[in-house]
Structure formats: C-alpha cells, structure tokens
Amino acid sequence: MKPAVKIPGHKLLRTSDYACQYMTHDSPVHHLGAGWKIGICTLLSALAVGVRTPWELFALVAVTLIYYFAARLTPFDLWRDTRFFVFQAVIVICLYCIHSGLAKGIWPGIRTSVQVILFYIPGAVLLRTTRTGDMMRGLRRVVPYRVSFLVFVSIRFVPFFLRELDEIMTAQQLRGARLLPRQLLDPRNWGDLFHCLLLPLMVRAVKTAEEVSLSAEAREFGTREQRTYFEGVT
C-alpha cells in the first residue's frame, strides 16, 4: 500500500513518486556542473562523518538543508528521500540508550543517526538535480562512459522495479502467499518471500535487463570508442 498523505481539498491521498529520482526544476543547484555537485557532495558527506559537538552538528544540518532547499526540493521530497532512515534513527537511539543508559546514550544516539542522514542527503541532491548525461560527462575522465551508463541506467530503473515489486507482491498475496510484514516475522513464511516474491522479481529483472540492452544496442550504444554529449535543454 502506498503511503497516505493529506493535502487540502482531498480527504486521503497517496503518493506515487519515488525517492532520489531526477526532478526538473530551474534552481541554482541544477545549474551547477556535475563536477561541482560531486565535489560538494563529497565535502558535505565527509563533514558529516567528522562532526562531534552539538554546535558542529547543528551548523551542518543547517548548511545541508539550505543546499537541499536551494535545489527547489520540498519538505515532502525530503521525507520521501529520508523516510527509511527514520527507522534506522529509532533503532540506533534505542540501542545506544540500552547500552549506555538514557542519560549517557541519548546524545551519541541522536548524533550518529543524524550523521548517517547528513551523509546521505548530499547524494540525494546530486541524483535529484543532475541528469544522466551530465553525470556521465562529469565522470568521463575517471570512469569509461560504458560503465557510468550502466550505473545511471540502473538508477533510472529503480521506480520501475519498485512498481514491479508492488505488483508481484499484490498478485501473490491474492493467491495466498504470506508476505505481509507481520506474517514475515514468522520464519516459516520466509520461503514465500523467496519463492513468491524474489524469484519472479529476479525473472522480471533478467528479462528487463535483456530488453534494456537490446534497446541500447539498437541505438548504437557502444559501437564507437567515444561518444558526444548533448548539453541538453534547460
């Protein structure tokens, strides 16, 4: 089931978007070159690993959020990009509290979980604001274009496979497969996870990979040593 969200004029709505997918906007971050964005991403992520004091953490949160919203991304996009880290944050804070007690464990728990989110957000901004071609152009001096294309075409197909996953899970549940989260808490149902969900998903993945490679080949991908890069329409 897709997550529910309330918006004015509607009683209950669901999102049909996915995290970390390119968003077409006219923002200062979109106008930055891919090389610059990779540099900023590396710097902010490195700082996220290094911060120790509350003030350093607060300052880095502020800078990262300014960078995120400068890309004209919304708080809703931020929620989509980081929602899975909320679970991680809860688990990390609980573990610290169990290990060191509430008074001593709460700050290291919060710091570590925020650091993980801060490490990840600059990468999300890079993917949200940089087109495949720009990224390949930015990386062409360090990575062969055939390799970088493989990486970015994989990102392009993330929403496709999430939809496939949803469709397969739906079809199998209606046939009696035990795939609900509470059913999967029982190890006896883990067989269903593999047979009814992962196996058909792998079959679809192989089939789709074959279709994608044929499509690329039919459009002369890899037939020449080098390729040109179209700067695109902004």
């Binding site: 089931m1 997918q21 046939r175 058909p200 002369e220 179209f230």
Partner: protein
C-alpha cells in the same frame, strides 16, 4: 529493383538450442517509401525478422543475405535502420525527454549542435515539442510510445521498424499513432511494422506480408483473412442474468485521488450480481486499474464503500480463494517448478486435502486447455501458455469474483477468443462473476452482460 531499400534473400535463423528454425527461407524486397505490415499470430517470427533486419540476433545458426540500400546524402551520424520495440517502458533509458532523444545521436558521435536540431525536429514530429525537460516517469503510455519513436527518428534512419506498436495503446492512441506514421510516410520514410491486428493502419499500409511458422507468404495489398479480425457476434450466448441473484460487488460513492495525477475515481457507484459478465472499458488512465485495485482491497479509497463477496472494505489478505485477480504480465505470478504446483499453490494454502487438490487442479488445467503442460516448468513456456497457466492458477479455487486487468495485452486474436471462451464457462460452472478491464473492444460482442465505461474517473453504463 534499383528503388528497393531492403532486399532479403533466403534468410533462415534458429535461436541457440532451438530445434525448429524461427525463420525459414524468408525472401522479400521492400521499395523506398513503402509502408509494409508483417502479419501473423504470436510466435510466428515477426519480431525475429525485425531483429534480423536491424542486426540484433546473436548466436544461433544464421543463413542470411540482407541488403539495405543507404540513400545518397546520409551522413556518418545516421543509422540505416531504426527499430522501435514493443515495450516502451523498458526501452526508455534516460530520465528526461531531451536526454532520451539525444541518446542515439550521441552514440553516433553527432556534434552537439546537430543533436540539438535533431531533438527539436524529432519531438516536433511526434507532437512532444515543449516537453524537452519533462521527466519520462510522468508520461502516459501513448506519450511513452511517441517518445520511443522520437528517440529512434533522431538517428535519421532510412528504414523505420516498429514491433507491435499498439500493444499498450487505447483506440485514441492507435488513431494518433496512425496519423503520426502517415506523416512519416508522406515525408518519404520507409516503414515496416509487425502487428497481429493491423486494422488501425489499413489507410497507410501499402502491402501486407503474412508470416506463419517462420515462413513468409505472398504479399497482398489488402488485409489478408480480414474476417478473422472481426469481433464475433454469435459466441456462447446465454440467458441474461436474472435480477433476483444476490449482489456480489457493491460499490458506493467511491473516491480515489493521487497527488501527482489528481482524481482517479470520482463517486463511482456500482452493483454487480452473482454470475454477471462485465466489460469495464475506458481509455488509458481512465481509472480501470484503480477501480480493480480498490475492489481487490489493494487500495484504500479516500471515501466511499466497497462490499465484495460479503466483505465490507476488503483487505487483500482476506480474499485468497474468494477473489481471483489476473494482472497484465503473467510471468509476475509464476514461480513454481511445474505447472501443476503453480495451480495447486492457492489450494494448498486454503487447506484442501491432497485428493481434492489433485481433482481441482486437473479440472482447472482441463478448463484452460493446458493439461498436457502439467509437468512443464512455467517459466520455460511461451507467453500465451504462461497466460493460461496464470489463469488456471486463479481459476482453480473457483473464486466468487474474477478480476482481469487488460488480459488481452500481448495475445493475438485467436488467443483472445480462446480466453473469452474459458471465462464464459466460469459463471455457469462455479457461479463466478467475471470483470474484464480492457481498453480494447472485446473480440466477442455477445460475451458481456453489461459494458461499463470509465471516463475521467466517472462510471457510465453503455449497455451490451
């Protein structure tokens, strides 16, 4: 002939490990500017022939003579043959429209200023100019089909090949595509399309080349066996359902919206009685799949009520055995080691005894005409056979309601008729209510008791 753009002489091809050739002694000539349609049933060799012309066949045994004449004036940044595949979803490789259209010319090393011109020209030709910066995920099926054509046209092909271009399109989409191809033809492009139902394109097709079992027949200027495509008007007739049977599907004031696409269902109300056969029609994006998902408990409506097989606002985990749903692509539903195990899966989960399971599986396999496949591995079967296995698996528990979402996609005309015949048996045998959601008209006009049309999220009854 000097004006021939394509000449094939005694082409034969066998896929690796296959004992029967996919193509045998295929010979033909295509003149410049012609529009040719390859016709034939699923698996007859149409896609293989197009792949051979494009040079995409790998491995296998190959005897070929394919000559493609490159017209004068074609530069190094062009490709002689452009191929548009059947599934537009998996051939769009980039995130934005302009990137996607530029991908081919970039691979041909065309200079950026030349690519810019081609992107502009190709998008204008398919009516997508102004969409350059849009994200491809937001496009409808018809728009995606147009985008894939633009991304091939930007490589300036002399010969345009299209494999089942209408398989995902509704009637308006088919008409738009026909107008688009007519425009290309008037500009001198040579077009070869593979279609098992070429009726939407009869106005632009110059010749039909029938293919059967890998062999090509004599070309004709009129649609071969045109009668086979006519919807049947004298199928398995039966008395119309009487009004005193219980209501099995009761939908009241159902509303559903999505943030990005807006209203999907707007105050939909519907009553369906036990054993009724319903055709839920409507164009792409009309809300058919959303309604089916609400019925099957896979979507929580914004407001309104669904009562299905006695369960109010059902959830999917309550429905196995009571409601069967067949989704578009059967391979999503198949995982077992044999067809028998696939069909028996739900029955075992419902706690059927071994003897009863064996009896019911045999009955379902017989109903779907696949008893001979019982020991075969489902994933090694052809698309049409997999479709029948998936159907047998949901039919076996003898559900009270059967929901089918675009069940005709990828099936040829005889396979569609056979599917309808199987579904026609269900109400009489098990009292099952059958709902088919499809943008295509049914190949048998007598099949449905009622035709319901969804338009902009609202439901109208259009009779039978």
């Amino acid at each position: 002939m000097d004006s021939d753009i394509l000449k094939i002489d005694r082409l034969s091809y066998s896929y690796p490990g296959a004992s029967i050739p996919a193509l045998m002694d295929v010979s033909c000539s295509i003149g410049a500017g012609e529009c040719i349609c390859l016709t034939g049933d699923s698996g007859c060799g149409k896609t293989t022939l197009l792949s051979a012309i494009k040079g995409l066949l790998r491995g296998g045994s190959y005897l070929k003579t394919i000559k493609i004449a490159v017209p004068p004036g074609v530069n190094n940044w062009s490709t002689p043959v452009g191929l548009v595949f059947q599934n537009s979803e998996s051939q769009i490789l980039c995130t934005t429209v302009s990137e996607e259209v530029a991908f081919g010319p970039e691979n041909l090393c065309a200079p950026p200023e030349e690519i810019a011109l081609r992107v502009q020209k190709s998008l204008r030709a398919v009516g997508l100019d102004g969409c350059e910066t849009r994200h491809v995920e937001r496009f409808s099926a018809g728009q995606k089909q147009r985008l894939t054509i633009a991304s091939v046209m930007s490589m300036n092909p002399s010969l345009l090949l299209l494999d089942e271009p209408t398989s995902q399109l509704d009637s308006q989409g088919k008409q738009d595509l026909c107008e688009l191809l007519a425009g290309f033809k008037s500009h001198g492009y040579t077009i070869i399309m593979a279609e098992h139902d070429p009726r939407p394109f009869t106005s632009i097709i110059d010749r039909y080349l029938p293919i059967a079992d890998g062999r090509i027949g004599c070309s004709t200027s009129s649609l071969p066996e045109s009668g086979r495509y006519e919807p049947r008007n004298a199928g398995k007739m039966r008395p119309v359902v009487v009004d005193d049977l219980p209501v099995i599907i009761d939908v009241q004031q159902l509303c559903l919206s999505y943030p990005e696409t807006g209203t999907a269902l707007n105050k939909v109300s519907l009553k369906v009685r036990q054993g009724e056969r319903i055709h839920l029609s409507g164009s792409n994006g009309a809300g058919k799949s959303s309604l089916l998902r609400c019925l099957a408990g896979l979507e929580t409506p914004g407001s309104g009520m669904v009562k299905l097989a006695g369960i109010t606002n059902p959830r999917s985990e309550h429905l196995p055995g009571k409601v069967g749903v067949l989704f578009q692509n059967p391979s999503r539903q198949l995982f077992a080691e044999s067809v028998h195990d696939e069909v028996a899966f739900t029955l075992r989960r419902m706690g059927f005894s071994r003897q009863k399971t064996e009896r019911v599986v045999a009955e379902a396999l017989s109903l779907c005409g696949i008893s001979q496949l019982a020991e075969r591995a489902p994933l090694t079967l052809s698309f049409g056979e997999q479709h029948r296995v998936a159907l047998a698996a949901i039919v076996a528990p003898q559900p009270e309601v059967l929901l089918l979402d675009e069940p005709f996609a990828g099936l040829d005309f005889p396979q569609r008729l056979a599917l309808l015949d199987i579904l026609a048996e269900m109400p009489g045998r098990y009292g099952t209510t059958v709902v088919i959601a499809s943008h295509d008209e049914l190949p048998d006009h007598t099949w449905a008791d009622r035709i319901l049309k969804l338009n902009g999220g609202q439901l109208d009854e259009t009779g039978r």
